[in-house]
């Protein structure tokens, strides 16, 4: 399987809360825009690609079609026997599709989920080890659905010989999984490759694979194809080495590096899982991503999705589009394309408005970098009564409606003043301390805090300090409050959530029950439902200010592993 798979997700349905949905995400043109250094042509290419642009993943969906079962190498984190509908990780699929079925499924999803912008082939084997099936799918789709971006991921072994074909099919996004550039290290990750009609093992195999990967990367870059490199972080095997990998692939022309944590459990039946190889901790992953970020744009929103995932990143609506169901669907794709174009235009208009708003606040703050505070004061309406209209019916925002917020005039000299007069915990005092805090967020999309704590399947983790709010990654959890018989396991699920949120000073959500509230407080994590429907980064900044004023920074170090 290709652990490279690109897909992520985070948000799902667009809520109707456009007016409240100021996107403060890092990709919106703020000073922390990670892709800001790229030429306009490249930014345009990734603008609506949820896996290549962090901001896009709040707005656009993706899908993978599982047409490529064969693989030409073995990785120690992969078990080719695996096939399960409940597991969410690369290489796992529910049903293999023929190219014809894949085309039908893609059209069905594109019609039903108009914000789906990207079709990727990512396995369950290696797409380029199945060139006929993979290319037949791309060929048909570039004819029938010219409005869908095509994307492929590969281990790179067969890449050089297929580069020209890839270019012919308008595939302008490719992900290569590169775990090493040193064959000695490669031999600890890849037990064998199939090459020139022979199975080759050991260092020799790794050397060939690495050569092919590097050659393919350079060829794609020469032809103007955008290349993302995925690397699996394997503690004790390639952790330090990935810094070198990041430098090398950047020099060869990759534009984004995605370091993903190893997934290794004995029940997965993989070599690493069975031999007790551990995956990295959140801190180890972040430290490595930070170390690589000096050389390279880093992707941190990857959800390591399945090879048949459908929907927003982190979301999987694959069950709605099984072979059985799509065979009964009658799709008028011409009509669907019109609707898709309208929906995409709507999304872009909204994003443009958000960028404008972001630029204006930056200007009025006189160069103050702490954008979120200004956004907050500017965006909060003087009349709070307009807020309920902005709230999606599915998600209650009572927490936000119940609280009065006093808009403050911009006060750049003391940006950390607490902003919520109704909050008993907020002290109106500035702090000069700038130790960063991690703050977790429950969001189901559009860049706002709009999810019930107990419904969250993942939390977005941000790191805030007095200067900036930055997204650092996601923590996957089991939703403990599913409202059905599985609620019997609520206690253990909540314990798992608490572990996932370790190191966070607070968790923001639209609503939260009393039981998890108490458990979070006992664990030293401040639960907070006061910022429902607010833009994520704005709310995180406000909560950082509250916590700072409240003296959280003087308490025991919750983030010991953070580098300065």
């Amino acid at each position: 399987m290709v652990q490279a798979v690109t897909t992520l997700k985070t948000e799902r349905r667009k809520t109707e809360s456009g007016s409240a949905g100021g996107c403060a995400s890092s990709g919106c043109g703020s000073s922390s825009d990670k892709l800001a250094h790229l030429p306009e042509t490249i930014r345009a290419k990734v603008n609506d690609h949820p896996c290549f642009s962090e901001d896009a993943h709040h707005h656009y969906a993706r899908m993978h079609v599982a047409v490529a079962p064969a693989c030409n190498i073995q990785c120690h984190y992969c078990n080719r026997k695996y096939d399960c509908s409940n597991e969410s990780r690369p290489g796992v699929v529910s049903e293999l599709l023929t190219p014809e079925q894949a085309v039908q499924k893609t059209l069905a999803v594109a019609a039903a989920i108009p914000q789906m912008s990207v079709l990727g082939i990512a396995g369950p084997g290696d797409p380029l080890a199945n060139p006929e099936r993979t290319l037949a799918t791309f060929r048909a789709l570039s004819e029938k659905a010219p409005d869908i971006k095509l994307c492929v991921s590969t281990n790179g072994l067969a890449l050089p010989e297929l580069v020209d074909e890839i270019c012919q099919h308008n595939i302008d996004h490719v992900t290569i999984t590169i775990n090493c550039v040193d064959p000695e290290i490669g031999a600890k990750i890849y037990p064998w490759i199939f090459w020139n009609n022979r199975r080759i093992k050991g260092v020799k195999a790794a050397r060939i694979l690495i050569e092919q990967q590097q050659k393919g990367l350079a060829m794609l870059a020469e032809r103007g194809v955008l290349v993302k490199v995925n690397s699996v972080l394997i503690p004790g095997v390639n952790d330090e080495h990935l810094k070198e990998v990041s430098r090398v692939v950047k020099a060869k022309g990759a534009f984004l590096h995605n370091v993903m944590p190893l997934i290794a459990e004995a029940e997965h039946g993989t070599f690493f899982g069975l031999m007790g190889q551990r995956g990295p901790t959140h801190d180890e992953l972040q430290a490595l991503q930070d170390a690589c970020s000096g050389d390279m744009a880093m992707m941190r929103h990857c959800r390591q999705c399945r090879a048949d995932a459908v929907g927003m990143l982190g979301e999987d609506r694959g069950a709605e589009f099984s072979i059985e169901k799509i065979e009964q669907m009658d799709i008028d794709y011409t009509a669907a394309m019109e609707r898709r174009a309208a929906v995409h235009a709507e999304i872009e208009a909204k994003r443009q408005a958000q960028r404008e708003a972001s630029r204006q606040t930056t200007q009025t703050s006189g160069g103050e970098v702490f954008v979120a505070f200004d956004s907050l004061t500017r965006r909060r309406p003087a009349a709070p009564s307009t807020e309920p209209d902005a709230v999606s019916g599915a998600i209650s925002a009572s927490a936000s409606a119940s609280e009065e917020t006093t808009p403050l005039s911009s006060h750049p000299a003391t940006p950390l003043v607490a902003v919520r007069t109704a909050s008993s915990r907020a002290k109106a005092q500035a702090s000069t301390t700038s130790r960063p805090l991690r703050i977790a967020v429950a969001s189901s999309g559009s860049g706002v805090i709009n999810q019930h704590f107990g419904h969250a399947r993942e939390f977005l983790v941000y790191e805030a300090d007095a200067q900036d709010v930055r997204f650092i990654g996601t923590r996957r959890v089991h939703a403990y409050c599913t409202g059905d018989e599985t609620c019997g396991e609520a206690e253990s699920a909540l314990a798992g959530t608490l572990r996932a949120l370790e190191g966070c000073a607070a968790v923001l959500c639209s609503k939260i029950g009393i039981e998890p509230w108490d458990a979070l407080e006992a664990a030293g994590i401040a639960p907070n439902g006061e910022h429902a429907m607010e833009p994520i980064e704005t709310a995180v900044a406000a909560v950082y200010a509250e916590l700072t004023a409240n003296g959280a920074l003087n308490q025991a170090e919750p983030m010991s592993a953070l580098s300065a």
Partner: protein, 92 residues
């Protein structure tokens, strides 16, 4: 003489396009080798192609019924480790 595919096969298609004799066919519940077609790649390749790309230990047997890729030979997982882990998981 012919090779043979067992029920360990995961239907990944890797072997099918490689067979110089077109002896391999997709079938339910798993792929099969037509024994009348299989040449064991004699005259075409030094090594039997299906067994050289197959990722599943024990899925392909040679003419005498012996696994070409015995347990541990492809994944590097010692068979005893595999058996212990599977027993632990089943006992949960």
């Amino acid at each position: 003489m012919a090779y043979q595919i067992t029920d360990g096969c995961v239907n990944c298609w890797a072997c099918e396009p490689l067979c110089p004799s077109h002896a391999i066919q997709a079938a339910k519940p798993h792929f099969i080798i037509d024994p009348s077609q299989c040449s064991e790649c004699a005259g075409d390749f030094a090594e039997p192609q299906c067994a050289s790309i197959c990722p599943i230990e024990g899925a392909i047997l040679d003419a005498s019924g012996i696994p070409v890729n015995p347990p541990g030979s492809l994944t590097g997982i010692p068979p005893e480790r595999w058996n212990t882990a599977m027993a632990e998981i089943r006992a949960r």
